[in-house]
Amino acid sequence: MLAEKPTSTLRRPQQFSLLILGVHFLFAWSTVFTQSKMIEDDGYRASSQYRLWSFTEEQLHDQRTETNRIASEKVRRAFNRAQLVASNGIGEDGTSHPDINTLTVDEEQRIVQWGCEKILEMKTILEPSPPSQVIATAIQYLRRFYLYNSPMTYHPKSIMVSALWMATKADHFFYKLDKYCHQLGVTEDDVKAPEFLIMQALRFTLEVRHPTRSLEGGIAEIRLHSSNLKCFKDVATSQVRRRIDTAGDKARRLLVADTQMTDAYFLYTPAQMWLAAVLTVDEQLAISYIEYLFDRLGTAVAPIKQKLRDTIIECAELTKSYTSPDNDKATKAELGRIGKKLRKCQDPEKLDIVEVARAKAAEKREGTDSDAEKANKKRKLERERLEKDGEVFGPDLKNVKSG
């Protein structure tokens, strides 16, 4: 099962050629125009994002199904274990607990999405506000984490603050830990305890290639060649400028928000994502640009034009499919339902990452904590647990801050 599951991008049959196509396409294009971009796109194939975090839709689904299956089994066993211990103190008998209603893959995805939205919210809570790139990196860390972990094992609320913390370090936007914790209403242990789990799940790859970076280059190129674009025929220069700037701004906003909430990073290259974003905000402009590229590249590449267009349209559709739960009552209600369900199937042995970490650490260095400290911590933990239980998905971050 797991051994047979290909995660390597090299084994993807159909979309592989498409992906290469996208890369190849911009590669050829940039040889014509800019040096720096050539290196970026060429380098993309060596990047960890391409090597380890690019999938077909099918592969992505298979991986999540597998993760869900393993986690569900584990939850059932854990409940079983707990029950047996409670009744007669005997260990596990190997059977599963049949009554536990575990989450489906789709439900897990909703919860992960909730975590991503919360990270986006942290941008407005933290002072100074982290750059969009740091936020985007954290969101992608979270998404990657849940490819190999289930929210039933580790709830996003315990992973997300830590993922963002790691993103600030990886992307060079440092906070003081105590300030960071204070602003988000979490403890320092909450932030540090899951770091190793996350590093492992990320397979020690910390770089995320964001489409916003390619977008800057792309917009510059569109500007440079605007006089050759069909959509700007007989349009005044000042208007052309304004339109390109507007498209760039809107595309940027889309890429740092909506795009983050989808599987786009797993399925498409940064070049495809930024083109899709431009397509979404100004279809005519994007199409004219693509037409122009292919005109420049000559008839030899004409056959791939339709494929590339399809890929980019697909990617744009994916981004559009996202609706923020704030705008949608039904989504919110659904989220509430899943939250209640999750509370009943959360792996009891992993409920509190900090506590698990502490227990393990205590095993190793016995006697580092005085008894009084231990009692104190325990009391604090109980209090926190109680607080958490009162919520659907844990406290709303904004409320925590103001409250």
């Binding site: 290196i39 960890s48 492992q200």
Partner: protein, 438 residues
């Protein structure tokens, strides 16, 4: 303030700056989550880089036997980590760095495939303030992405149960360029040219991938057994920041730090690394640091030592002014300094560096230009006409290098005088000979 209790590799040299603007610690000591007990299970093919030598999955008999058992607490991420860890056997300690202890190791499946395992230390202060150290995170982040002949290759990374991160990298038995410079070995201009070419190619590659190294110095340039030079130590690296983001100015070991950083520039680019390269070229030529202000016991730097270094720079290269470096007085930490005259033409340089040809000297002076906008990029350095001139860079196989330390051990063990090894070596290396080059 680099954690000062940790042993620096070379106490006589200034240390790499790191996290200089970090906070004092008030929080209780944090404990990261250790990994749970190992479980054995059918392994998922672990992530491998396409171009990398592929270590075989090892399979001892006992391993096979345990595999049959069903492991209830299966965790994919942990399993992947464990698979990686199980590929290697950790051996004896090779050396201590500021942030790491480096061990020798080898593939379980192939004891002849030697690797180095860099185990990041848990530095209590760092841990308390940051969790996993930013240096660790950065080094892993960039080495995962940068695959180049002249950049130390990272094969794998894994975490161990004791909450440390281990980085499996190429093993180097022939020391580094700093050791070379201070050894009794002789080398010539062709060798220097070869080393500088490899250094600049690596830096050009980094910059093309939008990464600044920010700690280039001879000690971080390792020599491989086949003579190839490899840049290591990406603990201070970062990607280029956009114009809206500040970067720290306290980076790059002082002797190799460009003046704009000493003046507190918050925006800079590849030219900072090029300055370090220039300093390295100068040091290779005269076999001691070109401009190195420090007391022997200097471990941590202060504003005083920075100004001392700057003053030395000014004495040699002339105090920068608005007319030769427009905008210099606007830099955040700019200070009015003792005015020294810039050397007129090549004359002064010629006296300091008598063993390099005119074209090479021009390149050197260009890389040591105060104004970063007039300093060359790594690409421009590689395109310089110096490379077309005689002497041609030495082929890497013929570059002087220390005998593989392991072979030396063997020599000792079988009773040979250590000198034998060295004699063999001197035959290969040429004496410093710059005749007819002036």
């Amino acid at each position: 303030m680099a954690p000062s209790k940790a042993a620096a590799p070379s106490p006589l040299r200034p240390m790499s700056p790191s996290m200089q603007n970090t906070t004092s610690a008030r929080s209780p000591l944090g404990k990261a989550l250790p990994l749970r007990k190992p479980s054995i299970k059918e392994a998922k093919p672990s992530p491998k880089r396409p171009a990398q030598r592929e270590p075989e999955q090892s399979e001892t008999n006992s391993h096979k036997a345990k595999r049959q058992k069903v492991e209830p607490d299966y965790d994919m991420a942990e399993q992947m980590n464990r698979d990686v860890q199980n590929k290697y056997v950790k051996g004896k300690e090779l050396g201590q760095g500021t942030y790491a202890v480096v061990y020798k190791g080898h593939l379980k499946s192939d004891p002849n495939h030697i690797v180095a395992i860099k185990r990041f230390k848990i530095i209590p202060d760092m841990k308390r303030d940051f969790g996993i150290g930013p240096d660790t995170i950065r080094e892993i982040k960039y080495l995962q992405e940068l695959v180049h002949n002249n950049i130390v290759r990272m094969y794998d990374v894994y975490a161990t149960k004791d909450e440390t991160i281990n980085m499996v990298i190429e093993y180097f038995a022939c020391g580094n360029l700093e050791e070379m410079i201070h050894s009794k070995m002789s080398y010539g201009l062709a060798d220097i040219k070869a080393w500088m070419g490899m250094l600049w190619r690596a830096i050009y590659f980094c910059h093309s991938n939008f990464v600044l190294h920010r700690d280039l110095k001879p000690g971080n340039l390792l020599i491989a057994e086949d003579g190839e030079l490899k840049i290591a130590d990406f603990g201070l690296a970062r990607s280029f920041a956009g114009p809206d983001l500040n970067m720290t100015a306290t980076t790059i070991t002082l002797w190799y730090r460009p003046p704009e950083l000493m003046f507190g520039a918050k925006h800079y680019s590849g030219q900072v690394d090029v300055w370090s390269c220039g300093m390295i070229l100068a040091e290779l030529l005269i076999r001691r640091a070109f401009i190195g202000f420090a007391d022997e016991d200097m471990a941590a730097e202060t504003r005083q030592t920075v100004l001392g270094q700057l003053d030395l720079l000014n004495q040699s290269l002339g105090t920068p002014r608005e007319d030769n470096w427009p905008g210099v007085s606007k830099l955040p930490d700019y200070v009015e300094m003792e005015p020294y005259k810039a050397p007129a033409g090549k004359g002064e340089f010629r006296r300091w560096f008598s063993n390099i040809d005119d074209t090479g000297l021009e390149l050197l002076m260009w890389t040591l230009t105060f104004d970063p906008r007039r300093r060359p990029s790594a690409k421009q350095c590689l395109e310089h006409e110096w490379w077309q001139l005689e002497p041609r860079p030495t082929d890497k196989e013929h570059l002087p290098r220390k005998k593989n330390v392991d072979e030396k051990h063997v020599a000792k063990e079988i009773g040979l005088k250590p000198g034998v090894v060295d004699e063999k070596f001197t035959g290969v290396a040429r004496k410093l000979d710059f005749g007819g080059m002036k």
